[in-house]
Amino acid sequence: MSSRPVLEVRDLRKRFGGLVAVNGMSFDLHAGEILGLIGPNGSGKSTVMKLIMGVERPSGGTIRLNGEDLAGLPPHRIARAGITIMFQHSRPLHRQTVLENIKLALLPDSLLRLATGPEVDRNARSIAKRVGLGHAIDRRPGTLPFADLRRMELAKVIARDPKVVLIDEPFAGLTLTEIAAFSELIRALGDEGRAVLLVDHSVRSIAALADRVLAMYLGEPIARGNAEEVMSNETVRRVYLGGELQPIGQNSRVTADAPSLLQIEQVRVLYGKAQALDKIGLFVRQGECVSIVGLNGAGKTTLFNTVSGLVPYSGTIRFRDDDLRNKSAGEIARAGVVQCPESRELFGTMSVRENLDLGGHLLPANARARQLEMLFGLFPILASRQSQAARTLSGGEQQMLAIARALMMNPALLILDEPTLGLAPVVIEQLSKALGELRKTTPITLLLGEQNVTFALPHADRVYVLDHGRLTWEGGPAKFAEEMGQGYL
């Protein structure tokens, strides 16, 4: 490791309209070292990568590569200066072979070269061998398995011969053996003297590889050090877990012989080549609140979208003993399974009241009025902002609107995907109270997906843990606090 940093980021900032995504990031990257940048969803870590690569323009700050400030330059200039990025999702050219894809990364940005010399071909082949694609060199990306597509991305990185390598979620979708192989390849990049920045939401997955770790939250750095130091840091734990795990009060009114409302068996989902969900089996009883706990990328959203009928799957999903397989998404929602998605999907230019009315379209007029009244009682702020356009509401208010709108459907099963994402603690408090109120006054069943464990546990009757598309743990909230609290990160 040399003394002068290859990459110096100072006071990096980015706003998207009113939203501040990155707020004063500063760090150094040295040649030969591997730095891990971690943070929960919405922390701004992917934005930081995009700013360095020039895919987004910074609102302020400097990015110096060997002293030269690259901030604000177009991505192709930054690439030629010596920075390369490996995106989280593979981006192959589908109509070209693996060899051609790698060759592309070796080409200069010139209009005059019609033919490529033989050394380009030789180079491409040796790089392919290095990453383990020697056998697949003449195949098209569509025929390759997921891990090989990731290898091809890595091959493109090596082909660029970069000084700085940015890698987003390096191990997402890979099996343990594949992770080991990839770690080797990434370690080799560092050994060659390149500076490597790994971005991930989970410290554990990059702990073995990273020399140093930097944790981010809401666009700012919150902790630096080696992997253990960061994992045990107070602020980091609070940000990931949502705070101290409170002792759980027993609020479960649900007995073991309540009928099963939702049953999921042997469900598998493939996104292209990636195994998004594998052998998922779970059930939800009438009146229960079941919490699916997991970090981003674990597969919670995929699971919920599968239940809602938006994603093809293999396996069985039953709601009230009805197989949901051949029902359209609209039918499933009408049947009583309503999702409030992570992205909320509000009708931004329509008013709060109009959004709610659309949710209540299936109810007769008086039932709709009653439901509206109940929800205004639950979320008083929505009543006072009735005629405002949905997109003018604050984040917390929008979340409340999304939940209220879903509740207008009078669902038997309400699926909530990361309701507390990006919300301030006081708003999370309000949501928690509303949720408690809802469970007390209605017979609703809840399926709650959260990475904020502190929010989820007090309400949950049972907890499942989802990690990399698989269910890895199941049990009651008290047991969860005992067993998982420490090892969760």
Partner: protein, 308 residues
């Protein structure tokens, strides 16, 4: 390109070229003249495919460039009596200049707006020709003093030769390193930029090549027909036919566009006895191909049997 597909394409092209060069032995002067026009059309369509199939940009007004080339050649010959070769060079340069003028601002626009600008360019050129009727003959059109030849067979070979040379040139570019970068720019411009390529620069270059060939072909067409008018080289319907020809023949194959063009022109001629309905039948067939064989005639022929 996949080697099996590539060799199939090669043999199909060679076969077509050989057959085409032997046709004057059997066909009448009338049929040869139909094919001559079709071959120039083929160059229009191939140039369009370079832009669409490779750079991923939809040019709704290819006749802007064709018209620039055609009319500059016509004006130079008609008003200043310059010899044909000089007029052709001038036509190519004018079209190139027009191409750059159009491409640089237009490429900054996304999606349908780029197509819109190209469309508006055609409308402007059309109106300019009508307004400056003194130089251009307005809506009636203008004649040129020189023609390439009065012999149908000679004209046929000029056109065929031009088509073959253009096809070879465009295919070489498409299969070269530049072609690879163009495809990346069209398929995934963010990734292309991140791999260090100035996407705009390459797209403008593709635009220029397309402009050069289109303008040249437009000028040659004028010296073949002996006259230029808005209806034959500028009207939006011509541009529409070019787009249909390229998609019908098979996008991203270059040669397919030429095949589509020949099919379109020849089919329209053969169906002439049906009167107005010939357009109906051709459009219906084209629509059917688009719905059922989106890869186009050549695309289907190339991929049949090679399931990936």
């Amino acid at each position: 390109m996949h080697s099996l597909v590539r060799s199939r394409l090669f043999w199909i092209s060679i076969g077509a070229a050989v057959v085409a060069s032997l046709l004057p032995l059997w066909l009448s002067a009338y049929l040869l003249s139909v094919l001559t026009g079709a071959y120039y059309f083929g160059v229009f369509a191939m140039s369009w495919d370079l832009l669409f199939g490779f750079a991923g940009e939809v040019n709704f007004g290819p006749t802007f460039l064709i018209g620039l080339g055609a009319y500059s050649a016509a004006i130079l010959n008609n008003q200043y009596h310059l010899p044909i070769p000089l007029c052709l060079v001038a036509a190519a340069c004018t079209a190139l200049f027009g191409g750059v003028l159009l491409a640089v601002p237009a490429l900054r626009l996304r999606g349908p707006y780029f197509g819109l600008v190209t469309l508006v360019a055609v409308l402007l050129l059309q109106n300019a020709i009508v307004i400056f009727a003194k130089f251009t003959g307005g809506e009636i059109g203008m004649t040129v003093f020189d023609v390439l030849s009065i012999d149908a067979t000679t004209n046929y070979y000029y056109a065929l030769g031009f088509l073959v040379v253009s096809a070879v040139l465009l295919t070489r570019i498409a299969n070269s390193a530049i072609g690879l970068i163009l495809q990346a720019s069209g398929q995934d411009p963010v990734e292309a930029a991140v791999l260090g390529f100035n996407v705009t620069k390459h797209k403008v270059a593709a635009f220029c090549i397309s402009a050069l060939l289109s303008g040249l072909a437009g000028a040659m067409l004028i010296f073949y027909m002996g006259a230029a008018s808005v209806d034959t080289v500028i009207d939006i319907s011509i541009g529409v036919q070019i787009i249909i020809a390229a998609i019908l023949g098979g996008r991203r194959t270059i040669v397919g566009a030429a095949i589509g063009a020949v099919f379109l022109i020849v089919a329209t001629e053969f169906l002439r006895p049906l009167g107005q309905l010939n357009t109906f039948v051709v459009s219906a067939v084209a629509l059917a191909v688009i719905l059922l064989l989106p890869d186009g005639i050549l695309g289907f022929a190339l991929r049949a049997g090679t399931r990936e």
